[in-house]
């Protein structure tokens, strides 16, 4: 089954063709990051307009890359939530039109389910159940993946996402947007014990829930104190200490969850999985615990449409299709 998949929930407009949930025939991405650097963030109106301009030529290119004609497509999948509403709407409406014109099923896919499914593309042997930590600029979620479409959120952030913590700290340190990569790069020149940063925990209720707002505030306070006292801020040391703190909060909880559920497999997904400290700490923790770690290659960690095509296949198998009344949603539970 060949699925044409569309992703447009934030910075990237992406179109892919995926066969049977596992084989990528085409994976086209148009990134708006360069456009947004000028503004220091995502500007919705520009994002939506830019998605609109590139989505049709991108779909044509994806078909060409895959060596397919339009009639070869068996279904159309799209991200319908969560995301920047104007941006998601572009992908949803394109997918609705395409499914209608081709006379094939329309499959709505939750963006975070797509990130988790990126692992199916990277690792042909991986099957549920496994524990997956989904970490991105907008989400931080620890998920019990019991089946391809049967998932339970074990814990999530109560305030900021892990990637948001990097983005906002980068802004305070004058490193630009997006902040994940510059902080990662800078951290390699610093000591991870340069600053004693908090590891905020959520004391009431769920032990798998997380909080990153206090960490961001600690970075703001350190930068503010340095400015007021005229003391130089050790930026590489702060970046390294921040990466260490975020990594410890994420890795510890994920390994606890894997132990609790007795799953041999641990997966990581989302753009923040590109962080080298987090990758290294997961590798060490999984080796020590005798569990197998799955982290997709960088290209599949960021937003892409191939992951939507992968999850779309399993949603279709489960009967999760939509008609042309499908809407886009800014907020949606997994």
């Amino acid at each position: 089954m060949k699925i044409l998949a569309v992703e447009s929930s934030c910075d990237e407009t992406a179109v892919a063709v995926v066969e049977d949930g596992r084989k990528v025939l085409a994976d086209e991405i148009f990134s708006q990051v360069k456009l947004h650097e000028i503004y220091g963030g995502v500007v919705p109106e520009i994002a939506a307009r830019s998605h609109l301009e590139v989505i049709v030529p991108l779909a044509d290119r994806a078909l060409k890359t895959a060596g397919l004609a339009r009639r070869d497509i068996d279904a159309v999948a799209c991200t319908y939530a969560p995301g920047l509403i104007g941006a998601v709407l572009v992908g949803v409406n394109f997918a609705k039109s395409a499914a209608l014109a081709l006379g094939v099923p329309l499959i709505p896919v939750h963006h975070i389910r797509g990130h988790i499914a990126a692992n199916y593309l990277a690792f042909p042997g991986l099957e549920p159940p496994f524990v997956c930590l989904a970490i991105s600029g907008g989400n931080t979620m620890l998920v019990d993946v019991r089946g391809y479409t049967d998932m339970r959120v074990l814990g999530q952030t109560r305030d900021d996402a892990a990637g948001e913590c990097f983005d906002k700290s980068a802004r305070v340190l004058g490193l630009g947007y997006p902040g994940g990569k510059p902080i990662d790069d800078l951290s390699k020149q610093g000591r991870d014990d340069a600053y004693d940063l908090p590891r905020p925990s959520v004391n009431d209720g769920n032990p798998f829930d997380m909080s990153f707002s206090g960490l961001k505030t600690a970075v703001v306070n350190l930068a503010h104190h340095a400015e007021q006292t005229g003391q130089p801020l050790d930026k590489p040391g702060l970046a390294a200490s921040l990466c260490r703190a975020v990594s410890e909060m994420l890795v510890g909880r994920t390994m606890d969850a894997a132990r609790m559920l007795g799953y041999p497999a641990v997966a990581v997904a989302g753009g923040v999985a590109a962080n080298s400290r987090i990758r290294a700490d997961f590798a060490a923790a999984c080796q020590a615990a005798g569990r197998t770690l799955y982290v997709p290659p960088l290209r599949l960690c960021g937003d892409n449409a191939a992951m939507i095509g992968a999850q779309g296949y399993y949603e279709y198998q489960a009967g999760h299709t939509a008609d042309s009344s499908l809407n886009a949603y800014a907020t949606m539970e997994l």
Binding site: V42, V43, L84, I85, G138, T157, S213
Partner: protein
């Protein structure tokens, strides 16, 4: 009215008191720098309005919608990424105003043209690492 809080949970409790008194259509414009407790205040507003759902930062998606049966909806905006009021209208700001909910707007300083004078202005100032001075002014008919 000016309040002093000494922790995130006190800021949340103040938000809850504020949220209890809100009617459909109320708009709270929040002003203050990174890490001064705006999201915690909005979480309190949600609790005060009887909403039990998860309230986290909407920075990435611009708006979180908190909808629960039998409760006034709360629309939680974060204008951190916006360049000005023009973009606010493009994300459906006016549609949200017409939906009969309460709007809480973080980083209102980025969208000065969005308000009509009937909004509550909630200003956050960091007076210490954990201390915050929070001023609530305005509201329907205040001008």
């Amino acid at each position: 009215m000016t309040y002093i809080t000494h922790s995130e949970s006190e800021t949340e409790a103040l938000g809850a008191e504020f949220g209890k008194a809100l009617s459909p259509g109320a708009v709270a414009a929040l002003y203050g720098q990174l890490g001064c407790g705006k999201t915690a205040f909005v979480r309190g507003m949600a609790r005060g309005m009887g909403l039990r759902c998860l309230v986290n930062s909407p920075t990435f998606t611009i708006v979180n919608e908190y909808l629960e049966e039998g409760k006034i909806p709360l629309f939680h905006f974060d204008m951190y990424r916006l360049g000005g009021a023009d973009e606010l209208y493009d994300i459906g700001w006016e549609d949200y105003l017409a939906r009969g909910g309460v709007c809480a707007v973080e980083w209102s300083e980025n969208v000065p043209g969005a308000f009509d004078g009937d909004e509550y202005a909630v200003r956050f100032e960091k007076t210490g690492d954990n201390d915050r001075q929070i001023t609530i002014e305005g509201g329907p008919g205040a001008c």
